[in-house]
Structures are given as structure tokens and as C-alpha cells.
């Protein structure tokens, strides 16, 4: 395995060939913002929050999909990137109805946390206020489309880790919506195993466990690393 040495935000770091900039950076405590990435499942480069500047390259690159190369000089936190990230998060808040004050994930939401980190104190684009349903037909879980940011973590974890492929995306553009099976209510899904992985990986309050009040829901993602390591290396880690 060849080792690549590169500079990220002024620090000399090393990664193995094939490892992404994102992974090398996070391992060394450089927290590049992200919403669609979650360790253990495939990356799609959709949220565009982990874009970084690489010296010598004109275009910004999604760090979750860009492998490290020898001698790369990467900047993960420039004024330009901050401005873009801020506007992307504002766009998400305006796209659907994220009413944090009445959300079960208030205080532990990745979107909300990101907004705070980026110093967002108001949204400059117009709120769209779409009319979206809440699916409470599942015995243990709920799906609130108002909180969904279409990151597709649920779709990927269900397909890649659980193997059920209950979820997929309906329609396109801003009218996209996560669906189970043929658009039936979640509770009526034949393929869902009720494993709850989708709920745990959801970055916002779109997927939640029933019976939680505002701000009570906490999610646990450690299972992903556990399962994926077990599957790939036959090691059962803590």
C-alpha cells in the first residue's frame, strides 16, 4: 500500500493510496463539513458541503470522492468555501419546513449544528413552505418529509448494509421525495425489516423513533462501523 503525503490546511498529513481527502482530514481532526457522507456506506458527493480548494485545480472538488495524491495542497476552510457552505445550508433551510423548535432532533441535528458552526443567524433566500406529508404508519418509526434534506443516507444504508432496498427516490428536482416500496405507507412496506438503520443515519429529524418529544431524539451511528468492519474484515470491534 503506497503512502501519499499531502498538505491540508497547512498541516503535512499522510494517507494511503485510494483514501479520500475527507477521510485523511477527519482522521487528523480537520472536520470538513458534510451532510450526505457517512462512514461505512458509499459516497455520492451530493451535498457539496465538503468541497475543498486544491491548489493548481480550477474547480472545487468534493473531498469525500477525491483520492489523496502525493504533494497535494488542500484548503478546507477558506472565505470562499465558507460563503458557499453558508448559502447551501440556507438553501436547505428554505427548501422545506425545518421548524427546529418543534422537532424531535432539536439540539442534535446535523443540519442545525452546521448552521450554528457557519454562524448562520438568518436565511437570506425565501422560504418555500412546501406542503409535505408525515408518514406515521410504521409501528416504531416516523418519516417527516418536512425535515428531509434528500441526502439519501437512508436509501444507501438500506440498500448497502441492510440489503432490503426499501427506500428510493421519487420524482426529481426539488419535488423529489423519499419513498418506500411502490410509494405505499411505510407501515405497509413488505420489504422493510424494521431494523431502524435508516433512522439512525438520518442527519435531521426526518426519520425518527416514535415516542420522543421535542429535542429528545438522539441517534447512534456506531453500529455502522461495527457492522461494516465485521462484514469486511471479520472483526467484531467495540
Amino acid at each position: 500500500m503506497s503512502v501519499k503525503t499531502l498538505e491540508i490546511d497547512g498541516k503535512m498529513l499522510t494517507g494511503v493510496a485510494g483514501e479520500t481527502i475527507f477521510s485523511v482530514a477527519w482522521n487528523k481532526g480537520i472536520r470538513i463539513p458534510r451532510l450526505c457522507h457517512i462512514g461505512g456506506i458509499s459516497d455520492v458527493g451530493a451535498c457539496r458541503l465538503c468541497l475543498v480548494e486544491i491548489e493548481g485545480q480550477k474547480k472545487l472538488q468534493a473531498s469525500c470522492l477525491t483520492p489523496v495524491e502525493e504533494g497535494m495542497v488542500v484548503h478546507t476552510d477558506t472565505p470562499k468555501l465558507r460563503a458557499h457552505r453558508r448559502l447551501i445550508v440556507e438553501l436547505l433551510f428554505a427548501e422545506r419546513n425545518h421548524i427546529c423548535s418543534v422537532c424531535v432532533m432539536n439540539g442534535d441535528c446535523e443540519l442545525q449544528e452546521l448552521a450554528t458552526e457557519l454562524g448562520i443567524d438568518h436565511v437570506r433566500v425565501r422560504y418555500q413552505f412546501p406542503s409535505l406529508p408525515v408518514d406515521l404508519t410504521h409501528e416504531r418509526f416516523g418519516l417527516d418529509h418536512n425535515r428531509c434534506i434528500l441526502c439519501t443516507r437512508c436509501i444507501r444504508v438500506c440498500d448497502e448494509v441492510e440489503g432490503a432496498h426499501t427506500w428510493d427516490m421519487l420524482g426529481r428536482g426539488t419535488n423529489s421525495r423519499v419513498i418506500s416500496d411502490l410509494g405505499e405507507p411505510w407501515g405497509a412496506s413488505d420489504s422493510c425489516t424494521s431494523c431502524g438503520k435508516c433512522v439512525q443515519v438520518c442527519p435531521t429529524g426526518a426519520l425518527f423513533a416514535k415516542g420522543k418529544a421535542v429535542g429528545e431524539m438522539r441517534k447512534d451511528r456506531t453500529f455502522l462501523k461495527y457492522i461494516v468492519t465485521a462484514r469486511e474484515k471479520k472483526q467484531w470491534i467495540e
Partner: protein, 180 residues
């Protein structure tokens, strides 16, 4: 600046919100006494004034939800040097704006017909109940806002820090503790 007391004039206003942000303001507790010594309180939701007074700083709670709010906020903006959106309803629309996904008529029917127990019917034909706007809007969509205090409600500490900064001629640190 108040002509008599020579102190900066502070006002608060209450649009479409639950008044929780004003409660949080009252949570300044003994700090209110210090504050009262440093500013001239010129308007709050309890003062009975014909017109909104001239003010140096106005804290506005609530979203712009009806025609009266619309008129008020324009008036406030005209007479205020520094306008601060106080709390999530003013900043994002928050709970007040949850009706936007449904439309005015549905909301009125639900409130005044389907769920009515004593008097059934949508109030109309007088000026007592202002007409709802088609869409609830955060304050900065309607007028220019100078500072934002997020939270539902914003903490008393955050309100205090912002006011003290302003009164001491500093740019408020504007540290956001939690958005939305």
C-alpha cells in the same frame, strides 16, 4: 436618544408570536434594573400608544402574519435606528409560519368552523380582527433587519449580551448558539 433623559430609547414589539421571547426578556431579572437605568423604555406590547415612538433600538418578536403586523413593522422600521429580530418567529417564521403549507382559508376553517364550540364562523366584517396575509413571513423579508437573536426563545443571556454590546458602542458579537 431621549431628549429629556439623554438615554438611548429602547422599544419592544410583538407581532405573530407566542410572547415567549418577551418572557425570556423578562428573565433578565435583576439585570432589568441595570438596563432600565441605562435606557429609556419607550414602548412595549403593554404600552398604549397611538403611534409607535421613535426609538434607537427595537426588539421585534414574532413573524409578519397579518395586515396589522405589516403596517406595524413598516412603521417601526421608519422610526427605529436599530431593528433586532427577536427569536425564531421573527427570524425564520417558525411555528407561526407553519400555516403557510396549508393556505389561509383552510387554516381559518379549521380554527373557526371545524374546531369551534361556542361561536361557529370566521370573523369578518369588522376591523377588530386583522386580515391574515396569504403567507407568514420572517421580518427581514419585509423590512431591513440589523441584528438577529435566534432561538425559541433566545436566552436572556443572549438578549442581554446583544443589548449591552450595542449600548457600549460595540458591534454585537452575534455568537449563534443554536439556529432554527
Amino acid at each position: 436618544m431621549d431628549r429629556v433623559t439623554k438615554k438611548p430609547r429602547l422599544a419592544t414589539a410583538w407581532l405573530g408570536g407566542c410572547s415567549g421571547c418577551h418572557m425570556s426578556f423578562l428573565d433578565l431579572d435583576e439585570r432589568l434594573i441595570d438596563l432600565a437605568a441605562r435606557v429609556e423604555f419607550c414602548a412595549c406590547p403593554l404600552t398604549d400608544l397611538k403611534d409607535f415612538p421613535e426609538a434607537d433600538i427595537t426588539l421585534v418578536e414574532g413573524a409578519v402574519a397579518n395586515e396589522e403586523h405589516l403596517e406595524t413593522i413598516h412603521e417601526i422600521r421608519k422610526r427605529t435606528k436599530i431593528l433586532i429580530s427577536l427569536g425564531d418567529c421573527a427570524v425564520t417564521g417558525n411555528v407561526t409560519a407553519m400555516r403557510n403549507a396549508f393556505g389561509v382559508e383552510d387554516v381559518l376553517n379549521r380554527a373557526y368552523k371545524e374546531l369551534a364550540t361556542v361561536v361557529v364562523g370566521i370573523p369578518s366584517g369588522n376591523d377588530v380582527v386583522p386580515k391574515l396575509l396569504a403567507r407568514v413571513r420572517p421580518v427581514h423579508e419585509v423590512v431591513k433587519v440589523d441584528y438577529y437573536l435566534t432561538g425559541c426563545p433566545p436566552s436572556a443571556d443572549a438578549i442581554h449580551a446583544c443589548l449591552v454590546d450595542l449600548l457600549e458602542g460595540r458591534e454585537p458579537a452575534g455568537e449563534v448558539k443554536r439556529f432554527g
